[in-house]
């Protein structure tokens, strides 16, 4: 079927099957930042924004995106670049495979709550698994960014 949507600010027309998942559609569109880490909505790697709200693209049909605006990390490079350097300074990017998912969710968090506490950050990102970093370095990076904004 044909779907029309806005992808990273650009109006596009896509052709999908009824069963096509949004994650597969987005990767076919060249949005390689969208990663699959499981098939059961447990890992958070495939997080994208639909009309500004974070969703798991592995659990949404591509057809559901019709008429909506989808943003992936490809379309939010500048907003991400503001804070990801602080995470890099901690070495907390590690293998990187989970990074786009938690970076997208962090963008959503900071839009919703520009000055979150550590516990609010942990709770908001709880659905974003990371097997490498032990999570603390990611938190220190985000905290470092928030503190730098206050200076």
């Amino acid at each position: 079927m044909e779907i029309k949507l806005k992808l990273n600010g650009r109006a596009i027309t896509g052709y999908v099957e009824a069963s096509t998942l949004l994650i597969d559609f987005l990767r076919d569109q060249g949005c390689h930042s969208v990663k699959r880490g499981c098939e059961t909505a447990n890992c958070g790697l495939c997080t994208v924004l639909m009309d500004g709200t974070p969703i798991l693209s592995c659990s949404v049909l591509a057809a559901r995106a019709a008429g909506h605006s989808i943003q992936t990390l490809e379309g939010l490079q500048e907003e991400a670049a503001e804070f990801v350097g602080f995470i890099a300074d901690q070495g907390a990017d590690q293998c990187g495979f989970c990074n786009p998912g938690f970076v997208m969710n962090t963008i959503a968090l900071l839009r919703e709550n520009p000055d979150p506490t550590d516990d609010e950050i942990r709770a908001y990102l709880a659905g974003n698994l990371c097997r490498c970093s032990g999570y603390d370095g990611q938190l220190r990076g985000i905290r470092g960014f928030l503190d730098s904004r206050k200076k």
Binding site: T40, Q94, G96, N99, A126, C132, S133, D136, L139
Partner: protein
């Protein structure tokens, strides 16, 4: 101990690939490969032990867009091993690409290649298989000499003599002893005899196993794979497919996590076989379920510890017997087991009079185990450290003081560690440091919080190696580029750990240049100098020394070119980073000019390769302390604080060393409290998704604090040892200790879930 200050080494530089990763660029296998490849899917056996009586693929082959279906009748009949190990591998040659005899629920029965995933999946459903279902061996404690043989085949072949016998379900067995254990044990005031059971935890790398294969412009097999072992992978494919290594090229792009999982060629042979047969590009991406049920998890082990001590807490004798479950195939079976003794017993070199370490490694009809960070040491350290904690509690001694009296110290020879020396050992300082920052004296006493919850603390020590001594080979190729910067090419595999970065830091330090003046590339068998690969904690220590050698060789080459430019002998000039100077004068030529000269009417190379190996494997050491809060009514356990002090020699990049430690601790917490690989009574795996195989989230770990005690390893680059594996070893024994303190129960089987805690009673 050397106390030099460095310009680049010891600084927390960002990883070379950080911003690419954090901004989600296309850097992983599936991001990089062309889209018009065949999709490869594997039909897997539902039975843990069966013979394929008949397999009919005619209906499946008629599905539109299906290109090929292969069964056991189509594959080469040479057995091979998929363990990424130096030739000749200790792991037995016990696999075929597809074997008629399937040995675990998930073993491959057919390979399907189609233009689309949908067609492949449709075809899979139409393949008709009739199985001759056999009784499986599911309990590893009954596997040895069981009448049911997992590998009855006559062409089973061990490339190394490791004490295996397929007619006994035995992959390996051995025993070493020193000092007369039985006599010393008989004269001990106290002997503890305890048995522990650890499970087959999954690495659960965020990027599942995956491989892309194509024929390159020369018609050779070009493999792009998420692997830690490009060179071993090439050798494995060469044997499995029966084609020369010169016809194969293996490269790895960025890797979404390894932890040892990708030290085994888990999925490479299948798309490679498809490409070799069809000439078409092919890609196989494991689902999370496939990665969980047919991956390469940790070896399940049962470890019996006999510990003999005197009444003052002097540990005099240790006797370990490990039974290891390698599952359906023998990958890493003969080697992981060794670490359960060789990397636990030496912790007590300080007082030990005698030790014995023996083991059996058995086949069962579980998924094949493999390499996982810690590689057997994790299991052995859980067993031994828990026994030592029990000794302390039995004697009424502070367990940290007990360890002070018994631990290995710098300068000692470690008889249980192949008699290698502890050249650099700050374990005593780690203990002191950790006690201080953790406030051990305040936290060790059990505190009743008055709300049904108690707080308690536990402690453990750990060690690992820094390579496989006398075996691992690392290399570095270093070139002076034509603007005075450097290109480093390695065969080691950065899997997120940051080895590209720390090796570049070493080049910058040696060549007296900026970190950004060093570009790194790896790993590609066509381009990289030979390296065993990134495993056994060896990259910093082994490849790092190769980098140091390469730098010294390149400096000599640069001096030779410069001397020519200044019209003098190379002995008359000195390399000073940005330029070369004639000794005793102000005459210099800049590095940039030297690099241009190297490309103009020049016969002196400014490009060199160096190789390193080591007869010893200096252990890093660490101490971990944990404070928990335990709800006595529900058994719910919360990790409040985890503190660790690590001696990895010189941390080349303290930020990355810290993250390694934090990540290892959280994986260890997962193994201790929630992760498990289990099978039902018919041998079917129970954990097929991340909903069932629980990984720790941000909410499951307490506050982490990691610090370092420096030591200086004279045989390592800048005094460095290793960091990657040791860090996973302390959580299980430390948390088990804290649980005992809170409940009076020693849990000797992992994981220790809330249910187990609440339903257990003190002995």
């Amino acid at each position: 101990m050397e106390n030099r200050t460095y310009k680049v080494v010891g600084k927390p530089y960002r990883k070379k690939d950080s911003m690419q990763l954090l901004l989600g660029k296309s850097v992983y296998t599936d991001d990089l490969v062309p889209r018009n490849h065949l999709v490869v899917k594997l039909l897997r056996s539902p039975y843990p032990n069966a013979i394929v009586k008949e397999i009919r693929t005619d209906a499946a082959k008629k599905v539109p867009d299906v290109v090929a279906i292969y069964t056991w009748e189509d594959v080469p009949q040479t057995r091979f091993a998929i363990a990424g190990q130096t030739f000749p591998e200790p792991s037995p040659y016990d696999r075929l690409i597809i074997d008629r005899h399937v040995r675990f629920a998930g073993d491959v029965v057919a390979i399907i290649a189609a233009e689309t995933e949908k067609a492949a999946e449709k075809a899979m459903k139409l393949i008709k298989v009739t199985y001759d279902v056999l009784e499986p061996v599911l309990d590893f404690r009954t596997a040895k000499d069981n009448p049911i043989l997992v590998h009855p085949e006559p062409d089973w072949e061990p490339p190394c003599p490791v004490g295996g016998d397929n007619k006994r379900n035995l992959v390996a067995s051995d025993s070493t002893e020193q000092g007369g254990v039985d006599a010393v044990m008989a004269s001990c005031d106290i002997v503890l005899d305890r048995t522990y059971h650890t499970k087959a935890f999954n690495q659960a790398t965020m990027e599942t196993f995956r491989t892309y294969t194509e024929l390159d412009r020369y018609g050779r097999l070009h493999v792009i794979s998420s692997t830690q072992i490009v060179f071993h992978c090439r050798r494995i494919l060469s044997r499995a497919l029966g084609i020369p290594k010169s016809r194969i090229r293996v490269e790895k792009p960025r890797i979404g996590g390894g932890f040892g999982a990708k030290q085994t060629a888990v999925c490479e042979v299948y798309p490679a076989f498809v490409t070799w047969k069809t000439g078409r590009a092919a890609q196989l991406i494991y689902t999370r379920e496939e990665s969980l049920i047919a991956g390469s998890p940790r070896h399940e082990m049962q470890i019996r510890v006999r510990l003999g001590a005197d009444k003052n807490g002097k540990i005099r004798a240790l006797d370990l017997y490990t039974l290891s479950n390698t599952g359906a195939y023998g990958e890493h079976g003969p080697t992981t087991v060794g670490l359960s003794g060789h990397k636990s017993i030496p912790l007590y070199t300080g007082s030990l009079e005698a030790f014995r370490f023996s083991y059996d490694v058995v086949y069962t009809n579980h998924q094949s185990a493999g390499a996982y960070r810690g590689y057997g040491a994790t299991q052995g350290i859980f067993a031994l450290e828990t026994t030592v904690n029990e000794l302390a509690e039995r004697l009424g001694m502070d367990p940290t003081v007990l360890r002070d009296r018994n631990m290995v110290k710098e300068g000692m020879i470690m008889p249980a560690y192949y008699s290698e020396p502890a050249n650099a050992c700050a374990l005593d300082r780690c203990m002191e440091h950790c006690r201080r920052i953790f406030h051990w004296d305040e936290k060790y006493p059990v505190r009743d919080m008055g709300n049904g919850k108690v707080r308690a603390a536990g402690v453990a020590m750990a060690m690992q190696g820094s390579c496989i001594s006398g075996l691992d080979v690392g290399s570095a190729a270093l070139t002076l580029s034509d603007d005075g910067t450097y290109n480093l090419v390695i065969g080691a595999a950065d899997m997120g750990t940051g080895c590209d970065t720390i090796l570049a830091q070493m080049v910058a330090e040696n060549m007296d240049c900026g970190y950004d003046d060093v570009a790194v590339f790896g790993a590609d068998t066509d381009v990289s100098p030979y390296d065993s690969g990134s495993y056994a904690s060896s990259t910093t220590y082994i490849t790092g020394m190769a980098v140091e050698k390469a730098c010294n060789q390149l400096k000599a080459q640069i001096r030779a070119v410069a001397a020519g430019m200044m019209g003098c002998a190379p002995e008359e000039v000195v390399f000073e980073g940005s330029h070369v100077r004639r000794i005793g004068s102000n005459q210099t030529v800049s590095l940039k000019d030297i690099s241009y000269k190297a490309q103009l009417f020049n016969d002196q190379p400014v490009q060199t390769t160096a190789t390193h190996t080591s007869p010893i494997s200096p252990p890093p050491f660490m101490v971990g302390m944990v404070e928990i809060e335990l709800d006595k009514e529900t058994g719910q356990l919360t990790v409040l604080d985890y503190m660790a002090v690590v001696d990895c020699g010189t941390p080349i990049n303290p930020a990355l060393a810290r993250i390694q430690t934090e990540g290892g601790i959280v994986q260890g917490i997962g193994h201790t409290l929630m992760e498990n690989v289990t099978y039902d009574d018919r041998g079917k795996p129970m954990e097929s998704s991340l909903m069932q195989y629980k990984l720790p989230t941000r909410l499951d770990m307490g506050r982490l604090r990691v610090e370092f005690e420096h030591s200086y390893e004279p045989t390592g680059p800048f005094g460095a040892k290793s960091i990657g594996e040791i860090v996973i070893n302390t959580p299980a024994p430390a948390i088990a200790h804290a649980i005992y303190r809170a409940t009076g129960v020693w849990h000797r089987e992992l994981p220790i879930t809330a249910e187990k805690i609440v339903f257990s009673k003190p002995e």
